[in-house]
């Protein structure tokens, strides 16, 4: 064993902390090394001196001071404890948390019920602006010379004031005021079948139906058909009015005064050309018939007579057919058809909470709404959770790191 090695093992020899091998080799070295023997003795003396030291006593009141510091700490927790306290759920029991959640749900539910009440309900029905018929503001487009067809231009009410009677108004096709042709001299030659469809909602169905009858009769028309039903949510019915074409606009106006217009549709079908065509064909056939009849007068042979009579009969039939068609068309032109669908306005929902049906309905709606809100909230929580996940992971890592650092300092402190 070299001298330095031996010197480094003297301390362990004193404590008997050498292995057997080390011990014997060290003792062998010591046999021949005076320096090491002297060093061993000096070290033994030093250690003995240190061991003699009086065991010190902690100062008076040491434990009380420690206690005081801990008491103060407890009333003002350290930073780490405070953060930890924040991160840990508030010191509520699960029961408290569940109760709080239940209260929150009840509040939401109650709010939903209250918001369903008529007092707060916002009118959901949107007023769809329907074109109103203003006969004196109508314009008739004569089809640019190419076709049958009547184009009814709809003018904006506000635009109408200036547009009426001006040529430019023709091009203003935007607008919602219905127009009907003012059939002037030129226009009166035209034959137009006018039909209208109106849906109105009235307060009382029966009186509305009576009013419709009166309107039709006052203008010289009649109710062509009527139907009535009551599927449960109030009576509804359809009346078909036939009124003179000249009164078409006026009648529509009166009908629309009866209630709230839900829908309206006005159509004009120009049948002038059909009229002209039918009349021309009829005139031709009549001339043909006259000529045939004159031939019949002069006929000598029975066979000729028979043939001519047959032809006359055929032509007569054709004339009758055309006449019928013309009569139908002029009837359609003379009498406009207005189809009116009448519904009775549903009873105002004002039964109050003690209207059991309605109350139940409201409770059901509120319940479903609450459930939907819960699902929406859950969705939001899931989405938020997913969005916050990286942040939470980073936060958790930071928290662990902080704990380790502080913990290590505490252990190392």
């Amino acid at each position: 064993m070299r001298h330095e090695e031996a010197l480094a093992r003297l301390s362990a020899l004193l404590d008997d902390e050498l292995t057997e091998d080390e011990g014997s080799r060290l003792r062998a070295h010591l046999e021949g090394c005076v320096e090491c023997r002297e060093e061993l003795e000096r070290m033994r003396a030093t250690v003995a001196l240190l061991r003699e030291a009086e065991p010190p006593r902690a100062p008076e009141g040491f434990a009380a001071e420690v206690r005081g510091r801990l008491d103060r700490l407890r009333s003002a927790p350290g930073l780490l404890e405070r953060i930890g306290g924040l991160l840990r759920a508030p010191r509520w029991s699960w029961r408290t948390a569940a109760a709080a959640a239940a209260v929150a749900l009840v509040v939401v539910f109650a709010a939903n019920i209250v918001l369903q009440a008529p007092l707060f309900s916002v009118a959901r029905r949107v007023e769809i602006p329907f074109p109103r018929i203003e006969g004196d503001r109508a314009e008739v487009d004569r089809g640019e010379g190419s076709g049958i067809g009547l184009k009814v231009r709809f003018l904006r009410p506000e635009a109408t004031q200036t547009a009426v009677g001006k040529p430019g108004a023709r091009d203003d096709a935007r607008g919602d005021a219905a127009a009907l042709p003012p059939l002037g001299d030129a226009a009166s030659l035209r034959r137009v079948i006018k039909t209208g469809e109106v849906e109105i909602e009235v307060e009382v169905f029966d009186s509305a139906a009576r009013s419709l009858l009166e309107i039709a009769e006052r203008t010289g028309g009649f109710v062509a058909s009527s139907s009535y039903s009551d599927p449960g949510d109030g009576p509804r019915g359809t009346l078909v009015l036939r009124v003179p074409a000249s009164a078409f606009g006026e009648v529509l106006r009166q009908i629309e005064k009866l209630g709230k217009v839900q829908r309206r549709q006005v159509e004009g079908q120009d049948v002038t050309e059909q009229f002209v065509d039918l009349e021309a064909r009829k005139r031709n056939l009549e001339r043909h018939e006259t000529r045939l009849l004159s031939l019949v007068e002069r006929a000598t042979k029975i066979a000729d007579l028979m043939e001519l009579e047959g032809e006359v009969a055929r032509i007569r039939g054709e004339i009758e057919r055309l006449t019928g068609r013309l009569r139908y068309l002029s009837d359609q032109v003379d009498l406009s058809t207005i189809r009116v669908e009448v519904t009775q306005k549903p009873k105002e929902q004002s039964g109050g909470f003690w209207d059991l049906d309605q109350a139940l309905e409201r409770v059901k709606a509120a319940f479903l709404k609450t459930v939907r809100q819960m699902i929406t909230a859950l969705e939001a929580v899931v989405a938020l959770g997913a969005a916050l996940l990286p942040l939470v992971l980073a936060g958790a890592a930071a928290w662990l790191l902080l704990r380790r650092i502080v913990g290590r300092r505490e252990r190392a402190g």
């Binding site: 480094a8 093992r9 061991r51 040491f62 434990a63 001071e65 505490e410």
Partner: protein, 178 residues
């Protein structure tokens, strides 16, 4: 670890300050002594020892009971004391008079005091690592295994630190004497 100590530890862990105070009273002299010999003066020693007990209470939850409670406490105290010494910019005043064993022989009283003054100066000049090892072994009387556990180093390291510490200390005492 006695049954009483285990019970006191359990209660302290649940926040019972009375129980912890009993643990403080039981360990205060050893812990204060260690701190005194590492720091070299009673004021720093009291500070370090207090700090050690406060930290121990705060981290009781992390005390796993694998080591003895006293070993764990020694570890915290050794750390607190060395921290304090490292923070000290200037050399602290030495104040270890109480280490000097009482003597009945009045003639040698002066010599003994002079000897202990030299021992304390030497200890204060000993590198901290060696000082802690020597104090734990020769003044607190702990075994190599326990010191290794307190310092969280292998037993071989304890052995070499002790060896170098004792050699250096012997030399320092000699120097001061000369």
């Amino acid at each position: 670890m006695g049954h009483d100590e285990r019970e006191l530890i359990g209660r302290s862990r649940r926040g019972d300050l009375d129980a912890f105070e009993a643990l403080v009273v039981a360990g205060q002299d050893r812990i204060y002594g260690l701190c005194l010999r590492i720091t070299g003066n009673s004021e720093d020693a009291a500070d370090a020892a207090q700090e050690a007990f406060v930290r121990a209470f705060q981290s009781l939850a992390r005390f796993e009971g694998r080591a003895a409670f006293s070993t764990w406490l020694y570890r915290i105290a050794a750390n607190a004391a060395t921290d304090l010494v490292r923070r000290r910019a200037a050399d602290p005043p030495l104040d270890l008079a109480e280490d000097c064993p009482a003597s009945t022989d009045t003639e040698s009283e002066f010599d003994r005091r002079e000897l202990w003054r030299r021992v304390h100066s030497a200890l204060a000049r000993l590198p901290l690592e060696f000082r802690v090892a020597v104090v734990l072994r020769d003044m607190q009387g702990l075994a190599y295994e326990e010191i290794a556990s307190i310092l969280q180093v292998p037993k071989g390291t304890v052995r070499s630190r002790l060896s170098r510490g004792r050699l250096a200390l012997r030399e320092l005492i000699g120097e001061i004497a000369g």
